[in-house]
Every structure is written in structure tokens, then in C-alpha cells.
Symmetry: D2
Subunit: 357 residues, 4 copies
Amino acid sequence: MKKRIGILTSGGDCPGLNAAIRAVAKSAYNKMDVEIIGINDGFKGLINKDYKIMKPEDFSGILTRGGTILGTARTPFKKMRKIEEDNVDKVKAMVINYNALALDVLVVLGGNGTHKNANLLREEGLNIIALPKTIDNDIWGTDLTFGFHSAVDIATDVIDRIHTTADSHDRVMLVELMGNKAGWLTLYSGVAGGADVVLIPEIPFTIENVLSALKERYNNGKNFSILAIAEGARTQEEALMTRKEFKKHRRNLKDPSISFSLAQEISSRLGFETRVTIPGHQQRGGAPTSYDRVLATQFGAHAIELIEKNQFGYTVALENNKIVSKPLEEVAGKLKTVNLDNPLIQAGRLVGTSFGD
Amino acid sequence: MKKRIGILTSGGDCPGLNAAIRAVAKSAYNKMDVEIIGINDGFKGLINKDYKIMKPEDFSGILTRGGTILGTARTPFKKMRKIEEDNVDKVKAMVINYNALALDVLVVLGGNGTHKNANLLREEGLNIIALPKTIDNDIWGTDLTFGFHSAVDIATDVIDRIHTTADSHDRVMLVELMGNKAGWLTLYSGVAGGADVVLIPEIPFTIENVLSALKERYNNGKNFSILAIAEGARTQEEALMTRKEFKKHRRNLKDPSISFSLAQEISSRLGFETRVTIPGHQQRGGAPTSYDRVLATQFGAHAIELIEKNQFGYTVALENNKIVSKPLEEVAGKLKTVNLDNPLIQAGRLVGTSFGD
Amino acid sequence: MKKRIGILTSGGDCPGLNAAIRAVAKSAYNKMDVEIIGINDGFKGLINKDYKIMKPEDFSGILTRGGTILGTARTPFKKMRKIEEDNVDKVKAMVINYNALALDVLVVLGGNGTHKNANLLREEGLNIIALPKTIDNDIWGTDLTFGFHSAVDIATDVIDRIHTTADSHDRVMLVELMGNKAGWLTLYSGVAGGADVVLIPEIPFTIENVLSALKERYNNGKNFSILAIAEGARTQEEALMTRKEFKKHRRNLKDPSISFSLAQEISSRLGFETRVTIPGHQQRGGAPTSYDRVLATQFGAHAIELIEKNQFGYTVALENNKIVSKPLEEVAGKLKTVNLDNPLIQAGRLVGTSFGD
Amino acid sequence: MKKRIGILTSGGDCPGLNAAIRAVAKSAYNKMDVEIIGINDGFKGLINKDYKIMKPEDFSGILTRGGTILGTARTPFKKMRKIEEDNVDKVKAMVINYNALALDVLVVLGGNGTHKNANLLREEGLNIIALPKTIDNDIWGTDLTFGFHSAVDIATDVIDRIHTTADSHDRVMLVELMGNKAGWLTLYSGVAGGADVVLIPEIPFTIENVLSALKERYNNGKNFSILAIAEGARTQEEALMTRKEFKKHRRNLKDPSISFSLAQEISSRLGFETRVTIPGHQQRGGAPTSYDRVLATQFGAHAIELIEKNQFGYTVALENNKIVSKPLEEVAGKLKTVNLDNPLIQAGRLVGTSFGD
């Protein structure tokens, strides 16, 4: 009898989703008699029984394509959090549709929120395999998520471009990168791009430290500086606030983001000309790099190996260069942030990068 | 006797400056007995007699490099405009230093402001050759400026990346590109990137038209839309305002830019999810494309041909695929904006792009 | 009544074909009641009545894609040349199928051979519009073909990469680029990449001149050199041979190509370490650059303007920055090679490039 | 007293050398009172006492640059192998010059050969730290070498470009990549590029297997195929030969490389049109990717940590995501090839890649 595999992508998109979808599908067609059911637009599609029966040719030529051929959505996840408390209708709807579609397993590609939801469905008795994707690299249990290194390449390219104009104009340039709770993307692209100051949520900074790093460069004859700033970077003062106080504090600053506040301080107190660049959503778009295609291919192929062995309730992970699997219940709800003894922080400090602490 | 050629880069930087500098230098060393004097940081360097005697090896390996090895500055130009009215000290200083450095000619690489300044110096009797560079492509008298096509490539790449994420998320994405008075960059990258709506200063738009273009796409089954918006784009209402009224009007909108106002309208009136991306200064950075290297090389080489023939007071230009020269006095102070009968606007309309008019 | 437009791509593929196909289709759907018939694999598809009825969604998302969604083939063209002499069966078959498909017009995207074939069909009374594509830029009557600047970008990128390794290793590096009869691609990428020697078919070289250019660089303290060589480059001696003598002469050299022969001479007579790189078919692949997307879009949109006005028997062309049309009979069978007074050759010589002549 | 650190780069160049040099230098200037002595052109420079005293500004702006600012050479290594047997003059010369330059340590960046040489110098009592660089990723003791992932990116980009043209033309395209003994580069870029057949030295193939993989694709309705072939790939028959027999066997084939022989077989026995592309030295050139910049920065910074602790005779390595050091004597002379149970081979097989075995 044909195995029926459902597949959906959920949460913010990132490069490599299609490469992983392709690997799941190609491996499935190679190893088993299978019908693949593509669920449209993430969990929303499962709730609404919005799906398409896929054919082998649907997975041709998508290895290099950005985005996701299945569509994705963020909203349902937020609503699902509420569901946990006050009603279970939506989870119920998903269980009903999983059964109505006669799925043997549901493969779910997503980030932290998605893993949490995937675990909810597992608790309801569904067969779930999750694949960790996100440009934030903040999923617990895996050394790397696909999408991350593609985003690092894009962010580094932005810093490289900013570099030449900074140098020509004797300016202090601030580049604000994605990453609210985890600073991986800013840390990696900051070091790769040779940023002079790198500010990430895990290392609260003081404005004084940032200013003195800039002054020191100036005193050493450097005519420009580059700051790579995670959108979630915060001062040591802010780090002591509750989430609520913090949000209120930021709103009072009136600047659209931390980078603008900081630029303001730098120009008013040091007299340097500043510019802020926010590459925004380009960090999640376009073709995946070779690194992410390799990783996504390995993750997708491993999902089928698990399915073959009827091992469900896992997320696929990279651990010490090996492709492994981790129980969803261990991973769900946890965040992997940058440790302060991360070797890249050490290396960054050694080559002279200031982390503002 | 050695010919003494001064060279400076002024105004906002752009890809191709070093390629042009290299072409000037290599052609000069090949054709004449020459000493090249690099003036630091644009006209500011000439005012302050801040310069370096260049050697042939200074021009090696710079063809591909972004920025300018001579440095540049914007400020002096603004101050020079004031000088025109109330005193001539700075222009005088430049004339004095030109003579003190015993220059035979000053080669000036820059945009509109620079051409205006270059013409001021020409009127003082200095031998000037200008080379038109800018990502805005708005210099009168030349079909193209170097830097432009590199910026188009970068902006198109941003739109491409945004495309994949827009499609995956059913979103309306707004990309705000550089260009205050001229829409060349937004027009070219908008068409190249397949933007559904392109808004440029030369074609005032109405919000109603933009909304109905988006609704039409939605009715045709398209789940997402891309808008490419020049930072200087304005509504038909705004187009009737004086500069002063316009600025006041925009300040009252509270949004940091036109794109945010528009995003607000789209999401509140059509209910679409929107995101704004502002690539900012990355549009001026990084290595020049092959196109700009070829153009910059031709412009730089032509400058030396003019100098050989003692033809001064010109800017080099591209006209109907030929490298020609135009009197500075004809070019200075004029702006080349997009004509409404530009064939690319026609082609854009034909393939279904809305210009909001 | 619906207008029936056939469309096919023929000859070697190049970046921008899909962008042009999209522009033809989108403009047609916008301007007229139309049915678009995609002919598969070039003229071969027309001969064999191998086609598909296209739908609007077939043209979505293809702007950036390399290759051609219609497929292409070279072979039939060669056979058609024979047809001219000894029989007309294949041309007849095409006329029959054109009529059987009830086409109002056939839009043909291709290079020199394709234009020749298109003209044959025109002579048979068919309504033909041609669009000039090729990485060689050698189609008579148009300043530029789409595909060309994308190939220049790729070739320049190869030269850039070779540059860093040449410099590090004190080597003479030879890069052999596409172009049998026309040297446009090698000329543009050679100048853009800063090649020290550029050899193109239009400027026969002598080995002595190449060697002395390399020696001169060495004497000036340069530790490496880069040669950009068109595959059709030939010595002054070879230039005097008949096509037959020339081919025999080359076969006797035993080296797989001109670059290897030249590398051999350089290393044996000057003692420099040499390496040959042949990027090959990567020069025709991948996404078109923004430049080519804009050009292909304009060409494709213009085709529909001609069709609207019932103007047939033309190829679309770029002339002095304007999109125009040229009678096929004027263009077919002619080759546009590089003129010796091309301004880029002049500029190249000025910056010190040797053309080996 | 100032610490005197010598630094040299040896063997084939690769992206990331300058990034590593910069990290060594910046970390040294930050942590100690230091004089850095740049040895020119690898071991040759040490033999000939060809060096320059470096200044901090020499290391500015080189993070992104391909090649090596110190120059490199391959030849001396080959000669040194002979030295081991018949005389020690060159090693002696290096010891003498190391002492004459009063070096406290010599940092050596290179591949397998370099590590062997570095170990020879260690045995002579010199303080040596090695950093593993190579596009081949074949250095024993480290999970990754810098330069590798940049080369994978370049090779993958070539395969991507070939892909679009293969598809349009119904062709079998063969891409021959660097790697004589180790297939890492071909394996990674082959999987990343979605090659249908991947041939590496570690997995001897049979022509029959390759042909039947191609036939199977054809029978499944695929109109084209891509082969990624390491230059050192060999048949199962060849794998049984001695090195000498193998070389003789290949010479008799007359084709310039394995790819051409294979293309010949494919076209004559299956009737498919074939094309061979050999990207060659572009695989080692250009700016390092963000991945390699990060790795090179960590390696370079770690070298200074070892020097601070007076730990000499080590090479820096990546092991399970940690930066560690390994005794040179353990690493020298060993080759890290692809294990047959490498997870990427498994994943490749799962998604349908043929390895020809």
C-alpha cells in the first residue's frame, strides 16, 4: 500500500526550504511506494484542509529556488498559542484533517514556533518529523539550521558594500540585521564582514563602550567604522528591564530602531557622520548557498530514513558533523542563543572587534 | 617638462570611481611624461591643499574595488553654494592651491553638484576635465553615468530576493530605492526585477491607482505584489505643492518615508500584509559591474585624449554609443530626469507594470 | 477573433530568453485577445508540429530564469542550410504546420542562423518577427543583443578570479572565451577584467607581439599577466589562410585549442609558468543580468507593438538607445564583427592593453 | 622585547589566505608587542631570505581579497621532497635564515605539502605553527580547511549555469572539477548543484554504471543530465593499476582528461549530445565566502593563542565545531579522503545521485 506523506512549511521563509522539500520527495520516491500530499501555507492549510496531491515533476528544478513552493504563513502559530489556553478547536481541526487525508506521517519544515506546534500535534498522537530551518540558527538541539549560512552570506555582502562607501566618506555606518533573541546572524556576518563593533542580544552593551571603541579606532588613524547590530541588541540597562518595561522604553526613544538611536548618540557625542542601513527581508530571500543546499538535502533525506524505520516524533539535527535526530519534546520551546564562550566571540575579540561590553 | 595632472573624486561615492581613476592614470603614463597629484577627499582637499604625489603602483589592482582611493566628501559642495553669494574665499583657496601645485589640469570625477563646482573653477580660468559618475544617472548631456548600472544590479538583486519571500508569504513588499529627483535607478531595477508597481518622481501617482493595481493583481489570482519606489516618489497632490509645503506635508505623515505611508494605506485599506525594505547605502558600494568598468575605462582614457589636445572645460559623455565631450557650461546645473516617453516606461506599461498614474 | 501567436527559441541558448518570452506574452495578453502557441525545441518543433498551447501562468516567475522554457536546438538549422540547395521539404513542412496551427504570426528568438532561417520563412510568405539574442553580440543591425552583457559579466568574473591566483603565483594565465568569428565578448570582458593581452578574431596577432607585451610587463616589475583569448583568435599568418588551410593548420598543432599552443610558446620561450582556463558553457547559463532583462523586456514588448500594427518581416533592434525594427532581409546572413576603430579598442590601447598586433 | 613572528603562505593559493593572515596579524598586535616578518613566495622566500617587515596597515582591507599578499610558490616543495633523500641544503638554508631573522616562531599557511615541509622544519628545532588551507579539504586532522567552501560555491555556481543550458538543449553536460586524490569538492558541489552523476577518486566507477544511470533518467522522461567529475576520478579497472600503469593508460586515451573520454563514450554509445566544461583555476580565485572568512579568522586568532602559550609544532584544526590544535607530526604526510560511509554520499544516493559504482 502506498505510504501517504504530508509535507508543509511554516513560519518565516528562508533559503533552502525547496531544497529540503526536494530531498524529502526524491528520497521518498526512491525508497518507497509513496503519495506526497503538499499542505498549502503551513498549518493554516492543515486547519483548512487546503492541499494538493504532488507529482514527481513538481519537485524538479526547485533545488536552487528561494522561498517555498508550498507557501507558508506565520499567523496561525500565534493563534495556536492562544489555543493552548482557551480552546483546542484548531489543533482538533488539524488532527481531523490529518486523519481525513489518511496521512502516515506529516513532515514539517520550520523554526522555533513550528517545532512547538509540531510537538503539540505529536502529543495528539500524530506521526511527525520536523526539519529545522531558520535564518536565525536558534533552534535547540542542532548545531546549524538550513537558511542560516545563506543569510550570513547576504548580510556579509551588505557589510562588504557598506565598507567601501564608509571608507570613501569617513563615515560611521550602522548595519541592522535580523535577530531578535539570538545574535548568530549578526555575529557571523559581523566577523565575516570585518565589522569593528558587533552588538548582539546575548551581550548587552553600553553606549560608552561603543563610543570608546570608535574613538580608539579614530585615534589609531582609521577614518571610518562599521557596526553590525542585531535588531534585538540591547544595552546593559535595558537587559535588566522586564519585557514590558523594555518595550515601553524603546517606544519612548521615538527612533524606529536601536540603530537609529545609536547613530544619533554617535553623531551628537563624537561628531562623526553616520548612516543606518537595514537590509530587512532580503536576508531571507533568493537561492540558497551551496552550504545550505547540502545541509537541506541531508536533512530531507534523513527524514525519509526515519520514516522508513517508523521513527516519529523527531526533528532532524546536525551534531558534530553528523546527521542525527532528536525527540521533538526535548527540542520544542527551547531557544539556542550564543554562548558567551563561543569560539567566534573569542576570535572576534582577538582580532579587535568590540562587542560593546 | 612633466605634465602635472591633479585628480579628485567628489560627492557620493559609487562603483567605478577607481576604475575611472585607473584609466586616467594608466592612459596618462602611457601617453605622456606625467606627474599625477591625488587630491584627498574631494574639493575639501583642494581647499586645504591636502594631496599626495601618486606613483604608478598606486593604480594597480584597483579596477574592481568599490569606493575611491582618493576619498570623497559631500559637505564642501553645500558650502560652496553659499560662497557664490556672500564670499569667494573657498573658490579662491582652490585657485591658489591649483597654482601652488602647478597643475596643468584638474580631472574631477563627480555628479551634478561636482559638475556645478567644476564649472565654477573653469570660470576662474582653471583647466578642468570632468567625468560623470553617479548611481542616479541624472547628469545632463550623457546617456549614462558610470556607477548607474552597478546600482541597478544591486537594486535588482534586492528585488529578486524580496520576490521569493513575497511569493511564499502572500505579501505586498515595498522596496524603497535611492533617487530623490530622478527615477532612473528605480525604473531600471523595477522593470528588471519584475516589480508590479514602479513609482518615480517624474510620474506623480495617486494612492487610488496603486491600490487598484494591487486589487487587480489579486483578482487575477496573484497572491503577492512588489512595489519599487524611488525615495523621491510623490503623489499627484504633492506634485502641486511648493518644495516647502511638500517637506512640511511629509513631516506631518510621521512615517520615516513614503514607503511606510504607502504600506500603511495598503494594509489598512486592502487588508494585505506589507513589508518595507530599504537597501540604502549598499546601492553605492562594492565592485563595479563589467558594464561600469568598461564605461569608466572609456571615460578615463578619453579624459587623457582631451588633455593631450589641450581641450579643457569639458565633461566626458556617452552619446549614442560614442564617447564624446560636452562643454561644462552647457551641462552644469542641469538635471537629466526620465522623459515620460522613455521606451522603458512604454515597455513597462506593455508588460503590465503600473506607474500609479 | 483571437490572434494566434506562435513563439520559438532557436540556436544556442543564452541568458534573457525567458525574459523576452515573458515580455512577448505579457504584452500580448495586455493588448489583445490572444492565444499563444509555444513551439518546442526551435524550428525542429515547427517541422514536427511539436507544440503546446500556453497559459498566462506559464509565463509567471520566468523573468530571472536561465535557459528557455520552450527548449531549443541547433541541428535543424544546419540541415536547413542544405535544404536551400537540394530540397525544400523542411521549409515546406514548416509552412504547412504554420498554416495548420492557424498562426497569425511567428515570433522567433535567435542568433545569426535563426535570422537566416526566419528570413527563409518570410520569403515563403509567413508573418515573422525576430528577436536578436546571442552571447556573441554579432547580429547585424542591432547595437546589442540580449544575452551578451550577461556573458560579459560571467567572463569578467572568471578573469577576476584568475587574477588573484595569477598574482599570488607569478603566473601567466590564459582565459579562452567563446566567440569564433566575433570578438565582442572577449573585448568587453578583457577590458572589464583588466586583461593585459586581448586577442580577438578581428585583430590577427603575432606571437612575437604577445611575447614582447609580456616581457615588457615583466620588465616593469609586474609578476603576472592575464590573456583573454577568443576561441576564434588567429595569428596574422593564419589570417591569410583559406578556411580549409586554417582548419588543417590548427589540427596539426595537436593542442586542443589556440590557448594551449600559445601557453606552450610562452612557457618555452619566456620561461613563465602558464595555466589555461576555459570557462566554456557556463558563459551561456544562469540568470540574466538586470541589463539583459531590461533589453529583453523592451525587445519582447516591441514585438507585440509591431504585431498590433501588422508589421511583419522585421527583427527588433537597439539603435542609439532606441528600440527600432529592421527588415529581416537586410539583416539575414550578415555578421556584425568588431570594427578596428571601435572606441573600446582605442580605450584598451590607451590603458595599456596589447591586442597582439 | 618584541616577539618576532614570521609568516608565509605556500602551495596553491585559495580564498581565505589573506583573511587568515589578517587574523594572525590583528590578534598579534592586540595581544603582544610584536614585529611581523612577511616571507615572500612561500618557502622559496625563506630559502632566499626574501622578506619584508610588515606594518599594521599592510593588513587593512585584505579580509575580502583573494590570493595572498605574501605571494606563494609550489616548486620548492617538490624539490624539498628530494632533499629528504639526498641533501639537506635547502632545509639548512631555511634554518639559517630563520635564525638570522631572529624569529620566535614561523606561521605557515598551506596544504598537505606545506604541512609536510612544516614538519621537516619542526624536526630541525624551529618553532612552527601551521594553518590548514586548501580547496581540496584533504588535510588530515581537521574537519575543514579554509578555501574549501569558497571553491564549493564557485563549482556549484558553474554547475548551476550549466544546468540551464543543459535543460534547454537536451544535452549531457560534464563538469570536471579540481581534486586529484580527494573528491570533497566534487562531492559537495555535485550534491549542491543537483548533479545526476558524481564521480570521485574514492569511488571507482564503471562506464556501464554511468551509462545506465543516464539511460534511466532518459527513460524517466528527463531530457538532460549533469555529471560532476573530479579530475582524479577513475574506473574500477584503473583503480587496480599501479600509479605508473594508470598514467600510461591515461596517456594512451589521447583525450586531454577523463571527462573527454567519458563524453566520447556517452555520445557514441547512447547518442546523446555532450559538452565538457573545465572551470580550472577559477576554483581557487576571488573573495572568500563568509564561511571561509569566519573559519580563517578563527584559525588565525588561534595561532596567536598558541604562540602566547609557547605551544609550537602544531597545526590549527576544526574538530566537532571547536577550534583545536594537532601535533604536526601526527598530521604531516597523511591525506584525508572521503569515507565511503560519509553521510553526504548516503544522502546523495537517497536523492537519486549515481556515483557510478
